[in-house]
């Protein structure tokens, strides 16, 4: 089930990526609609992070191409924001939360201009949006995991992009932070942005996203949540893995009940 859209925000065409000759992504071909909250779902090692790294040009492509807003990345870099995995950086680095948020403005500054009061204001506003304004001058190693993740998000917000690609923004954050973050992502979508999120948890995926990409090296499905989060497609994505299968059956059971009434409604 691969549904294509016209006028896509993001088009991935026949993409193949490999690490040391071992293919990680094989012939992925998909398009994403505007103003959507998109989840990339799949088992460990399915190539979820690889997909968004390939989209951001961080990895060499074996074949295929990626177009954003109908143009190659180089021409629209300022409209795209990337949030790496939290563990990918050294949090003992001598930087404050404000310093990190301010990095979001660097792309607009060009080669020589240095961040000034305007950039500081933008960064402060971004920190306020994620509720981290009181921690602006705190060194980043003194923040909790959830707070660090929010600082990363504020950096993306400071970029003021139209398309956001986030690598596991919910990894290692508590439920309160997760709720706050998803609320923020919904607001962003309602303001016309497209947010693509690598996500692990099948159960919350149902409530969080309006478009789902199911990935396991090959693209299993890409389409609206109701049509993609189905037992046959999930089974195809997760294969015969026992633990994952039991989760699928859990989901099956839930489907027999009206889950929308017990869980927070999707806006």
């Amino acid at each position: 089930m691969i549904q294509h859209v016209t006028n896509p925000v993001l088009e991935v065409h026949d993409l193949t990526v490999s690490y040391q000759r071992k293919p990680v992504l094989w012939d992925v071909d998909l398009t994403l609609p505007q103003q959507a909250l998109v989840g990339i779902i799949g088992p460990n090692g399915a190539g979820k992070s690889t997909l968004i790294k390939a989209i951001m040009g961080l990895l060499p492509l074996n074949s295929g191409f990626v177009e954003l807003f109908g143009k190659p990345l180089e021409e629209v870099r300022k409209r795209v924001s990337y949030v790496p995995q939290r563990e990918s950086v050294d949090w003992d680095f001598p930087a404050s939360a404000l310093d990190v948020a301010m990095m979001g403005t660097y792309g607009q500054l060009g080669l020589f201009r240095r961040p000034g009061s305007r950039e500081k204001k933008l960064a402060m506003e971004a920190l306020e949006k994620v509720g981290m304004q009181d921690f602006a001058h705190r060194q980043i190693s003194q923040l909790s995991g959830g707070q660090q993740q929010r600082v990363f998000l504020s950096r993306a917000l400071a970029q003021d992009a139209d398309l956001y690609l986030m690598d596991e923004p919910f990894a290692g954050v508590d439920i309160a932070t997760e709720t706050a973050i998803i609320e923020l992502l919904r607001q962003m979508r309602d303001n016309g942005k497209t947010v693509v999120v690598v996500h692990h948890d099948l159960q919350s995926a149902q409530d969080y996203f309006d478009w789902i990409i199911l990935l396991n090296m090959r693209l299993v499905a890409s389409g609206p949540t109701e049509e993609t989060l189905t037992p046959p497609l999930l089974e195809k994505t997760y294969g015969g893995r026992l633990t994952e299968l039991s989760r699928v059956s859990e989901l099956l059971q839930k489907k027999q009940f009206p889950i929308r009434e017990t869980k927070p409604t999707r806006k």
Binding site: K53, M56, G57, L58, E74, R77, V80, S81, Y82, P84, S88, V89, D90, F93, P94, A95, S96, D99, V100, M103, Y106, G107, L109, F112, R114, P115, Q139, S141, R155, Q159
Partner: protein, 297 residues
């Protein structure tokens, strides 16, 4: 203070500022030993420059050394990225091989090359005032080394102030830097080029060991004292300057090696920071659990 002492301390301070500024970025990238690598790897460059030009003129040697320095950083990056060897292993294997190559070249051409390995490795900062730059009209402009290192410092200060944000971001989060269109490779080589230039300009006068000590010691001390990279750069430059002045007088008092005394002071500074630093120090850590418990209560 006599004029010779002034020149020695000034040279030491200039070298200290150059090395410690760059060292801050190196230790944050976990590449502190790159300075060590470059200062050893330049040996074959010096020998080859000598063999090809046949002269011991300073500029040919510096160019030969600088070329090998950059080649060394290229090889380190190449082995790290392509062969997927750890960065520190890659540094180790590259510079020992290049240094060995230099030693072999010297021993094979022993008759033709009049080079002293000790001189390359240990240098002697006390001889700085002997190599005076005289203009054609005979005007005394002071030691040549001071001019060379001074020039390097000006280049470095411009480089770091103008491109601070690029150096900062590519050191902290290379993936994000690439995503917004900064070339991490370009900034890596520019930084390594600067390290190579500094090492080559400095080791001739102060020796490789002191260069390494200055590139790692003061930045490590500053890292313990602050959580802000700008302050870290300033503190480490100050610490390096103080160490070179204090080291000179320590050496005078002991009648010993200046480079050795400076390195010892650097070690002492680090030890003091380790024990007394307000944020990361041993004493502060001992007090911290109590403070945290109070905050939670």
């Amino acid at each position: 203070m006599n004029i010779d002492a002034f020149w020695i301390i000034l040279t030491g301070a200039l070298v200290a500022i150059c090395c410690s500024l760059l060292g801050c970025f190196l230790i944050l990238r976990r590449m502190a030993m790159v300075g060590d690598a470059i200062s050893h790897a330049v040996l074959p460059g010096i020998v080859l420059a000598f063999l090809f030009s046949g002269s011991r003129e300073v500029w040919t040697m510096l160019i030969g050394a600088a070329l090998l320095g950059v080649a060394c950083t290229f090889l380190i990056e190449f082995f790290h990225k392509k062969a997927r060897v750890q960065a520190d292993a890659s540094i180790g294997v590259t510079f020992t091989t290049l240094f060995a190559l230099g030693i072999i070249l010297i021993s094979v051409y022993a008759g033709k090359v009049d080079l002293d390995q000790d001189c390359v490795l240990y240098g002697e900062i006390a001889y700085v005032p002997l190599d005076i730059w005289l203009t054609e009209s005979g005007m005394n402009l002071g030691p040549r080394t001071v001019w060379i290192i001074g020039g390097v410092l000006v280049v470095l200060l411009l480089f770091i102030t103008i491109f601070y944000k690029q150096l900062y971001l590519t050191s902290f989060d290379p993936a994000f830097a690439t995503a917004i269109g900064l070339s991490t490779t370009l900034w890596y080589y520019l930084l390594m080029g600067a390290v190579s230039l500094t090492t080559v300009a400095a080791f001739e006068s102060v020796g490789a060991i002191l260069v390494v000590a200055l590139m790692v010691g003061p930045p490590a001390t500053a890292y313990l004292l602050t959580d802000d990279l700008k302050k870290m750069l300033i503190i480490s430059a100050l610490a390096g300057t103080i160490a070179s002045a204090a080291g000179f007088y320590l050496a005078l008092w002991l009648n010993g090696s200046v480079a050795g005394a400076i390195s010892a002071v650097i070690g002492l500074q680090f030890l003091l920071a380790f024990v007394f630093s307000p944020g990361h120090g041993l004493l502060a850590k001992r007090r911290q659990p109590v403070a945290v418990m109070k905050a939670n209560a």
